[in-house]
Amino acid sequence: MTTIAEGHEEPGHHEHPKFLAHHFDTPQQQFDSGKLGIWLFLTTEVLLFSGLFCAYSVYRSNHPEVFEYAHLYLNKIYGGLNTLVLIFSSFTMAWAVRCSQLGTAPAVFKIPLGKGRHKVLFSVSNQKLCVVLMGITIVCGAIFMGIKGIEYNAKFKEALYPGYYYNPTERPGEVGKVENTNESPIAVKPITASAPADAPPLAHDANGIAFEESRVPRAAIGPQGLNPQWESTEAARDAGEDIVTGHEVGNEPKNVQIFFSCYFLMTGLHGIHVLVGMSLIFWILLRARKGEFGPEYYSPVDFVGLYWHVVDLVWIFLFPLLYLIS
């Protein structure tokens, strides 16, 4: 976005191509500057997420039981599908960058028939192919956001909100099935579905009865590992019982909301980045349609592509950290 400036061409100066800003001497210098710039920018992006990853690590090591319990609320199928969609979009984006480098040269699709012979299926200008591939990338981004929307919606329905507003009525694995388990002794009794805005948070005891939690800061109680409830969960695990869905113990650990704080913040910030990436690709797509890019000048496609790959990469880390625990 910074590579073309309103230049003031100076007569007598050496040939200045249209895309070359006035303060650069050569296209190579401009490209190198842009490349260094985008890598620095991507570093800052990674560092922006690093705060969240750091918070995630701290809380996962402080409350491992919370993460093991709460991740079962997440849908691995949706998460996995999204991972595939994003990886595929990275592939189309990388291909688009290659196409923009090749410019108007034709891209020939052929089927090898063996013995060095092949059958040409069709051939298309790389410039056009570039536009199509970026279009596919944007569609993939949209599919990703759509699936994410479905997932968020399901969480909101279950009141799986972060922090203060966390107030689910159903256990993981039982979501949508609670009516059928009317005999289950451990089914959590529905607590008030929506807490008044200024009410203190409700916690539940071992029998699932809601009570008002102490306002004493939790830090004074000590790490969760020393919490008797945790010990009972540990004991259950030692006894070989299924802690989460096991109908023997099934205590919900404390502080499950912290998992959803991490989940919504990480996926939310990532989602914003996907939207930004889609808009950037759309902008580049429009420029590519006008035929602005070719072997001499393709840096915007290259740089937006790098951005998209980093957004993809962040998800590659988010997926196992949030969905594939234990």
């Binding site: 650069f24 500057s33 701290v58 402080n62 203060y164 502080n255």
Partner: protein, 578 residues
């Protein structure tokens, strides 16, 4: 946009000296508002930071006036003490995020960095303008927060209080979030400019030291500020959505906020001090008429400070629930950062040794910097030592130490740079006599303000209190008198600088006899900086610069040194003249 002017012969050398300059190149509001010229952007930053310096100064005056009496002068009732909290929060937040961080790199740096380097502009001029508008947006949000309920958390925004108070924390924090991105983009721009836009002959070790320190600063800006960004975002989420990440009630950890905050904010003090150190490395050799002593050490110590600066944040939290092991490591690393800082101070001293000191205003400020920064640095050792810090933590000793480094260091360095480059930026000379008087007032006022605070702090006066025990009154009164003296000094500075804009004498190209490239341009510089790649020599070789009465400035006398040409051939290694 295109203006072709004939190259006029100029005694300063065969540089292009078109009849117009960056100020007269184009006219009208939009020619400034949409400019891509780094010099104009620098001037806009400068204007904005000076404005906010004034605003924050007014808050400081309110704070000091309040503390004249043990029970307060302005805020005397229990209900009004919260306003005192707002005053020191605004003073701190505005000074840090709107003044100290952009003052040297974004304002002075934007103006001089490309010219010093011999480039036509920064690498990404549009990004540069965008970054300025981010600064403006952040500043507007910060001002809105004052109107909507001034923040009373202290500039550190510690949770849980910052998540609970009714004041407009979200606006202020949102503003700082945006300011952070402005800072990141400036840093990125400078790093790429220094890497990719150096003209032929400008090797790394031939760069003026201001560029080295700006480079080190930019690295910190790029690597530390995103962490502040996410921290502040989490704080906003904490307030809006009650996510509980920093709230122990929901299993969160308030100390995590402190870790996150200081992971940025400790390196941030190096964002503030390093560019001022760069100014020092320019001003001291110029006004000592000597080559800088230990060029490579000064250059690399900037990087050393930047790297070690990332590893010391824990020393802000010695009594706040860190393990002893961690605290010991942080204490050790804190001591370590003294080494590169001391390298710089000793090298400046060695540069002055047997030099012929020319005590113009920039040099007076530079000497003040040396004196105050040394006190600030030495008292930092008290605070970095574990056991002593437990006693001094959150007392006026910390306030005094911080102001000795940030005010006595950064701001006086900024004042040195402002006076040093004022003729270059505006094309006008300021009144030298008044400049020295003002510098004296600021120096005396500053020390009167903050020396007593060391004593107070070590006697147990806690920071951030609207009232105090009568025992401390003499110290507080002395401190307040010093603050008033400083105010007079700065008011005088503002007066003569504004006066010089209209009535000042025309500045010569090189009034101080400096050898860096920006002084080879006219004052003010032409729109394009350089039409041809400039000849790059040793930036600290003053030997062939002689005073010329006819231009009232220094010119190069080519008989005294190697022929001065515009050839782009790479001359032999820097430093060979001594």
């Amino acid at each position: 946009m295109t203006t072709i002017t004939p190259d006029l012969a100029q005694p300063g050398g065969p540089f292009d000296t078109p009849a117009d300059n960056y100020l007269t190149h184009t006219h009208g509001f939009w020619s400034w508002a949409l400019t891509l010229d780094h010099k104009r952007i620098g001037v806009m930053y400068l204007t904005a930071t000076l404005f906010f310096f004034f605003v924050a100064g007014v808050f400081a005056m309110i704070i000091r006036t309040q503390l004249l009496e043990p029970n307060g002068v302005i805020f005397t009732t229990e209900e009004s003490y919260v306003h005192y909290n707002q005053m020191f929060t605004l003073h701190g937040a505005i000074m840090i995020f709107l003044v100290l961080i952009p003052a040297v790199p974004a304002a002075l740096g934007n103006f001089v960095l490309p010219i010093m380097l011999g480039a036509k502009d920064v690498a990404f001029p549009r990004l540069n303008l965008f970054s300025f508008y981010l600064y403006v947006t952040g500043a507007i949000l910060a001002i809105l927060s004052i109107i909507l309920g001034a923040v009373d958390t202290g500039w550190t925004f510690y949770t849980p209080y910052s998540a609970q108070t009714d004041t407009a924390v979200c606006w202020m924090v949102g503003g700082i979030f945006v300011l952070g991105f402005s800072s990141i983009l400036t840093g990125m721009n400078f790093i790429v400019t220094i890497h990719k836009l150096r003209p032929p002959g400008m090797t790394w070790f031939r760069m003026p030291l201001f560029l080295w320190s700006t480079y080190a600063t930019s690295i910190i800006q790029v690597l530390a500020t995103p962490v502040l960004g996410i921290t502040l975002l989490l704080l906003i989420m904490e307030r809006v959505l009650r996510i509980g990440i920093f709230n122990s009630e929901y299993g969160g950890d308030p100390v995590l906020f402190q870790h996150f905050f200081w992971f940025y904010s400790h390196p941030a003090v190096y964002i503030m001090i390093l560019p001022a150190m760069g100014v020092m490395s320019e001003v001291v050799p110029t006004f000592s008429r000597k080559h800088i002593f230990g060029y490579r050490f000064v250059a690399l110590s900037s990087l050393g400070i930047a790297i070690i600066g990332f590893l010391v944040w824990g020393h802000h939290m010695f009594p706040n629930g860190q393990s002893t092991m961690l605290a010991t490591i942080f204490s050790f690393l804190t001591m370590l950062v003294a080494i590169p800082s001391a390298i710089k101070v000793w090298n400046w001293l060695a540069t002055m040794y047997k030099g012929s000191l020319w005590l113009q205003t920039p040099m007076c400020y530079a000497l003040s910097f040396l004196f105050n920064f040394t006190i600030g640095g030495l008292t930092g050792i008290f605070l970095g030592a574990l056991s002593v810090d437990v006693h001094l933590h959150d007392t006026y000793f910390v306030i005094a130490h911080f102001h000795y480094v940030m005010f006595g260091g950064t701001l006086l360095g900024f004042m040195a740079g402002l006076h040093y480059w004022w003729p270059k930026i505006t094309g006008r000379m300021y009144n030298e006599t008044l400049g020295k008087i003002a510098c004296g007032l600021v120096f005396i006022g500053f020390n009167t303000t903050f020396l007593p605070q060391f004593v107070m702090g070590s006697h147990g006066m806690p920071r951030r209190y609207a009232t105090y025990l009568p025992y401390f009154q003499p110290y507080h009164v002395m401190s307040t008198i010093g603050a008033y003296i400083q105010f007079v000094g700065f008011a005088l500075t503002a007066a003569y600088l504004i006066h010089s804009l209209f009535k000042g004498e025309k500045a010569p190209a090189n009034p101080w006899g400096s050898a860096t490239l920006e002084w080879a341009c006219t004052s003010p510089p032409p729109h394009d900086n350089f039409k041809h790649p400039p000849h790059v020599g040793d930036p600290y070789d003053h030997s062939n610069l002689v005073w010329d009465d006819s231009v009232q400035g220094y010119v190069r006398d080519n008989r005294l040194a190697e022929p001065y040409t515009t050839t782009t051939a790479i001359p032999h290694q820097a430093g060979g003249h001594h």
